[in-house]
C-alpha cells in the first residue's frame, strides 16, 4: 500500500500528495473530515469531562444506574443508529410530528433536518463516542494522586481554580489520549456519513473509489495520510501519558474521596447527567422502534407493531447468508486472535522474545490504524492475486477482523499472565514436567478466564465491524451483517426495518458478550474498552 502511494511506474514520487491537495473534491473532503472530527471531538470531550468529574468526585443518587446507562450507546455501531435516526429526522418523520404536536413547528412547512447532514453526523458521533471518552476521563481522573489536589487545597486553592491549575493539567495526558482516540474514530468513520449521504469526508471518498474499482493512486495517498496522522497522534498520546507517571498514595480505608453534595444539588446533577445519557441512547431506541414498527407514517410513535422483520431475517437470503457469514468470520477471527494474543503475550510477559517492546508495539499498532486503512490496504495489496477481495474476501475479512481486535486480546492475555504466578510454572518444571506440559497444565488453566473473555469480545466486535466489512465485501454471497445492513438501508420497502432488526441482533450479541466477558474477567463494566 505504501508502495502504491509513493511509487508510480517504478519511480519514487510524492506527486500524489500534491494531487490530493489540488483536486478540489479531495481537498474539500480533507477539510470536511478535519472539521467533522474536530467538532465531534471537542463536543464529546466538553460533555465527557464534566460528567466524569461529577461521577468520580461527587456522591450522586443512583450512580450505578447512571454508569450503566452511560455505557449503553457503545453496543451499536453508529451507522446502525444513523439509519434509524435518519428516519426520525425525516421531513414528516416522528421528530417533526412531535414538534408539530407541541405547536413549536409549522405543520405545513416543517424544517428539513436532513439538509444539515454535517450536524446530524456530529450529533450521532458525539453521542456514540461519549461512553468511550467518558471511560477515559474517569480513568484519567482516577489516576490523579489525590494528595496533589489536597496539597493545592492546603496551599489555599479551591473550586475552579484548583481544577484549572492542578486537576485539569494532570488529566491532560488522559484527555489527550481520549481526544485522539475519538478524533481518529470520527476522522475515519465511514458508516455514519455514508448513511447521511455526506460525501465531503475522506472515508466516503475512499469507499467510493474502491467501490468503483478506480485504480487511482490518490486513494493510496489519502489512506497513507490518514494512517500517518493516526499513528503520530497515537504515539504522542502514549508518550505523554508515560511522562507524568506519579506515584499515587493508597487512600485510607473507608475514605471514598467522594464529596457529599446537598441533596437537591445532587439530584439536579443526576438529572443533568441522566438527560445526556438518555439522549445518547435515543438513537438506539429509534433502532428498536424501527425494527418493531409495522406502520410508522406521519405519527410520533408507530401505530402498529410487528415482529415480522425478525422472522424475515432468517428466511430472506441476503440476511440469512449474512448472519451465517458473520458467525463464521467472527468465530474464525476470534480463534485467530486467541492464538496470536496468547503467543504474543506469553513471549512478551515471560520475556522469551527478542526485542519485547517492539513486539508489544507491533501488537498495539492496529489501535492507531483505522479499519478503513487496513481494509484499503488489503484491497490494494491483494488485487489480482488469489486473495483478491473482489473474488473472495473471506480470508481477508477474517484477518482484518482479527488484526483490529488483536491489541485488546493481547492486553487481556497480559493481564492474565501477570496474575498467573511464574513460580508455579517453575515448580512444575522443577518437578520434571516439560515446558509444553507445564504450559497446558499450569499456565493455561490460570489464564483461561481472560482468554475466553478476550475471545468473546473479539467475536462480538467482529460481528459489528463496519469499515472493513463495507470495503472488503463486494459480492452479496460474502456479505457480513454490517454490509447487509448497509445494503438493506438503501432499499425502499421494509429495508430500514429489516436493517434495524439486524442491528438489534448485533447489539444483543455485543451487549450480552460485554456482560459475560466482564463477569469472566471480574472487572468493572466497560473496562474492556480501555487501552
Amino acid at each position: 500500500m505504501l508502495k502504491g502511494a509513493v511509487v508510480y511506474e517504478g519511480r519514487f514520487t510524492l506527486d500524489f500528495f500534491a494531487l490530493l491537495l489540488r483536486d478540489p473534491q479531495l481537498a474539500d473532503a480533507l477539510k470536511g473530515s478535519f472539521g467533522l472530527a474536530l467538532t465531534s471531538t471537542s463536543l464529546t470531550l466538553a460533555l465527557a469531562i464534566p460528567i466524569a468529574y461529577a461521577m468520580v468526585r461527587y456522591r450522586l443518587p443512583l450512580k450505578g444506574v447512571l454508569n450503566v446507562v452511560l455505557l449503553v450507546p457503545m453496543i451499536s455501531p453508529p451507522f446502525v443508529s444513523a439509519i434509524a435516526v435518519r428516519k426520525l429526522l425525516a421531513r414528516f418523520g416522528p421528530i417533526n410530528q412531535l414538534l408539530i404536536a407541541l405547536g413549536v413547528v409549522d405543520p405545513t412547512n416543517p424544517p428539513s433536518w436532513l439538509d444539515y447532514p454535517f450536524w446530524g453526523i456530529v450529533i450521532l458521533q458525539v453521542l456514540h463516542f461519549l461512553p468511550i471518552a467518558y471511560l477515559n476521563c474517569v480513568a484519567a481522573l482516577a489516576r490523579i494522586d489525590r494528595s496533589l489536589e489536597e496539597a493545592a487545597q492546603s496551599l489555599g486553592a479551591h473550586g475552579f481554580r484548583l481544577f484549572r491549575t492542578v486537576t485539569l493539567p494532570l488529566m491532560m495526558p488522559g484527555l489527550f489520549a481520549a481526544g485522539s482516540l475519538v478524533f481518529i474514530l470520527a476522522f475515519t468513520d465511514l458508516g455514519t456519513p455514508l448513511v447521511f449521504n455526506y460525501t465531503r469526508v475522506i472515508a466516503v471518498q475512499v469507499f467510493h473509489r474502491v467501490e468503483q474499482a478506480l485504480e487511482d493512486p490518490t486513494g493510496y495517498a489519502m489512506v497513507l495520510l490518514v494512517m500517518v496522522l493516526s499513528v503520530v497522534i497515537f504515539w504522542t498520546s502514549k508518550r505523554w501519558a508515560e511522562r507524568w507517571q506519579v506515584q499515587t498514595m493508597p487512600r485510607a480505608a473507608g475514605e471514598t474521596g467522594e464529596c457529599i453534595l446537598p441533596l437537591p444539588l445532587a439530584w439536579l446533577l443526576f438529572a443533568a447527567i441522566f438527560l445526556v445519557a438518555f439522549l445518547a441512547i435515543l438513537p438506539n431506541i429509534a433502532v428498536v422502534l424501527n425494527a418493531f414498527a409495522d406502520r410508522w407514517f406521519m405519527t410520533i410513535l408507530p401505530d402498529r407493531w410487528t415482529t415480522r422483520y425478525f422472522e424475515q431475517l432468517l428466511v430472506y437470503s441476503l440476511t440469512a447468508t449474512a448472519i451465517r457469514n458473520s458467525l463464521l468470520y467472527s468465530l474464525a477471527s476470534a480463534t485467530l486472535d486467541i492464538l496470536l494474543g496468547l503467543a504474543i503475550a506469553y513471549l512478551v510477559v515471560r520475556g522469551k522474545a527478542p526485542l519485547p517492546q517492539w513486539l508489544d508495539g507491533m501488537a498495539m499498532l492496529p489501535l492507531a490504524i483505522p479499519g478503513i486503512v487496513v481494509a484499503f490496504g488489503y484491497v490494494g495489496a491483494f488485487a489480482n492475486t488469489p486473495l483478491d477481495p473482489r473474488q473472495n474476501p473471506v480470508l481477508l475479512l477474517i484477518i482484518a477482523y482479527a488484526i483490529r481486535r488483536l491489541p485488546y486480546m493481547v492486553r487481556a492475555c497480559y493481564a492474565g499472565l501477570q496474575q498467573a504466578s511464574e513460580i508455579l510454572e517453575e515448580a512444575s518444571l522443577n518437578l520434571g514436567a516439560s515446558p509444553f506440559r507445564t504450559f497446558v497444565k499450569i499456565t493455561l488453566p490460570q489464564i483461561l478466564p481472560h482468554l475466553i473473555a478476550g475471545g468473546i469480545m473479539a467475536f462480538a466486535f467482529a460481528m459489528l465491524e463496519v469499515s472493513d466489512s463495507l470495503i472488503l465485501a463486494f459480492d452479496q454471497r460474502y456479505f457480513p451483517i454490517t454490509k447487509a445492513i448497509y445494503a438493506l438501508a438503501n432499499r425502499l420497502e421494509g429495508g430500514v426495518q429489516m436493517a434495524s432488526a439486524m442491528g438489534i441482533l448485533g447489539m444483543l450479541v455485543l451487549g450480552f458478550s460485554l456482560v459475560l466477558s466482564t463477569r469472566l474477567m471480574g472487572r468493572r463494566m466497560g473496562e474492556v474498552f480501555k487501552v
Binding site: 496539597a151 492546603s154 496551599l155 507524568w244 475514605e255
Partner: protein, 377 residues
C-alpha cells in the same frame, strides 16, 4: 509575639499560633478511627504524633488540615474555631508523605503556587519563593521539574512550598519515610534546625520513635485512636506510663511483679527472681496489686566490685553477647528470667560466665497491669 518569619522571610504581621483540639471523634466508614483526642499544641512548638500504623495519627493530621471533618469535637487555631472550615481557608500547610509536588510545574512554580493563590504582588512572591528555596538550600533549582530531582530534593521543595505561605500550622506526614537511612539522619537535624528558626507551630506524624525522640519538643504516643501519653522525649522514654509506651519508644525489660510493701520513698515489688526496690509510681497502688516492672537495657549496671552492697543486685548467667560497635548487647538470665543489658565499655576476651547485674531504684519504672497484650515494636 512577633512571628519569626518576619526575621527570616522579610514579612510578618503574624503571630505564632497555638492550636487546640478537644475530644475529636472520627469514623471512617464503619471504623471508629479517632476515639476522643484532646491535645494542646503550644505556639511555635515542634509536636510529634507517634504511633504504630493504623493508630489514627494520619487521620488526625487530616482533621487538622481540614481534609476530614470530625463527627465530634472541636479544633481551634488560636481563638478561632476551624472545625468545619475547608482546607483552603485554614492556612495550615501540609507536607505529604510522597511530597505531592505538582509534576507539571517547575520548582519555582510549585513554591509560588500558594502565593499566587493568595494573590500576592509579584515582587512579594519572588521574595518569598527565593527565601523559601534558600532556607531549604535549593537555590539554583528553580527551573527544574520535580521528576528531575532526587528524593531528598523533592522533599525540600515540598517543605519550601509549605513554608512559603507562612502557615499558622505546619503539618508533616511522615516526610522522611521515603528517604534512605543516611539522608534521613541528615534531614532530621536540618528539619529540627529549620523548625526552630521559623518557630511555626508544627505537627509531625511518624511511626519512627527515633525520629520523634531526636526532634520533638513534645510527643503524643497514639494507640488505637487514643492518646496514650503526652510528654517530652525524656519523660516518655524514662517515665512511660504504660507498657505500650515503654515498649514502643525503645528496648525494654518488662517483668511481672506484685507490690509487697509500700513506703513513702520506696516500693518493694516481688518478681519471679526476687524482691526489687523501686521508686513509687505516678499512679496510686495498693499492697498486693499486680504491676509491670520496666527497666531499659542501657540502665542495667554491670557490677564489677563484689564487695560493695548495692540494692537490687543479682547474679546472672550470660546467655549470649552480641557486639554492636558502640556497645555490646548482653542477654542474661537471672533464675531463668531473661534480662537484656547494654555494656558500653569494650570487653577484651569476652564476658565471664556469670556477672552481677544491678537495677537502680531510680531506673525501675512501675507500670499498671490493666493491659495484658504485649505490643511488639
Amino acid at each position: 509575639m512577633v512571628h519569626p518569619f518576619r526575621r527570616l522571610l522579610g514579612d510578618g504581621d503574624q503571630t505564632m499560633m497555638p492550636v487546640r483540639v478537644e475530644n475529636i471523634v472520627k469514623w471512617l466508614g464503619k471504623t471508629l478511627v479517632l476515639r476522643g483526642i484532646t491535645l494542646d499544641f503550644r505556639a511555635g512548638e515542634f509536636f510529634f504524633l507517634l504511633g504504630p500504623s493504623g493508630c489514627g495519627k494520619t487521620t488526625f493530621l487530616r482533621v487538622l488540615a481540614g481534609f476530614l471533618f470530625p463527627e465530634e469535637g472541636r479544633v481551634f487555631f488560636g481563638e478561632r474555631e476551624v472545625t468545619f472550615l475547608p482546607p483552603h481557608k485554614r492556612n495550615a500547610a501540609m507536607v505529604f508523605q510522597h511530597y505531592a509536588l505538582f509534576p507539571h510545574m517547575s520548582v519555582w512554580d510549585n513554591v509560588a503556587y500558594g502565593l499566587k493563590v493568595r494573590k500576592l504582588p509579584r515582587h512579594e512572591i519572588e521574595l518569598r519563593v527565593r527565601d523559601a528555596l534558600r532556607l531549604v538550600r535549593l537555590k539554583g533549582f528553580e527551573r527544574r521539574f520535580p521528576l528531575q530531582l532526587s528524593g531528598g530534593q523533592q522533599q525540600r521543595v515540598a517543605l519550601a512550598r509549605a513554608i512559603a505561605v507562612h502557615p499558622d500550622l505546619l503539618l508533616l506526614d511522615e516526610p522522611l519515610s521515603n528517604l534512605d537511612a543516611k539522608l534521613r539522619a541528615e534531614m532530621r537535624s536540618e528539619l529540627k534546625e529549620l523548625q526552630r528558626k521559623l518557630g511555626v507551630t508544627t505537627v509531625y506524624v511518624t511511626h519512627d520513635q527515633k525520629e520523634a525522640l531526636a526532634m520533638a519538643d513534645r510527643i503524643a504516643v497514639m494507640r488505637e485512636g487514643r492518646v496514650e501519653q503526652v510528654g517530652t522525649p525524656t519523660e516518655l522514654y524514662r517515665r512511660p506510663r504504660s507498657r505500650f509506651v515503654a515498649e514502643f519508644l525503645g528496648d525494654a525489660n518488662v517483668w511481672e511483679g506484685r507490690i509487697v510493701a509500700l513506703h513513702s520513698e520506696q516500693v518493694s515489688v516481688e518478681t519471679p527472681f526476687g524482691i526489687l526496690h523501686c521508686h513509687p509510681p505516678d499512679f496510686p497502688v495498693r499492697e498486693g496489686e499486680r504491676v509491670w516492672v520496666m527497666i531499659r537495657p542501657e540502665a542495667v549496671v554491670f557490677v564489677s566490685d563484689g564487695s560493695q552492697q548495692l540494692p537490687n543486685t543479682f547474679v546472672a548467667r550470660i546467655e549470649r553477647a552480641v557486639y554492636l560497635g558502640e556497645a555490646t548487647e548482653v542477654v542474661a538470665r537471672v533464675r531463668d528470667i531473661k534480662v537484656k543489658a547494654l555494656h558500653f565499655r569494650a570487653q577484651d576476651g569476652g564476658f565471664a560466665h556469670e556477672v552481677r547485674l544491678q537495677f537502680a531504684p531510680n531506673d525501675l519504672v512501675l507500670l499498671p497491669r490493666e493491659e495484658a497484650a504485649t505490643v511488639a515494636v
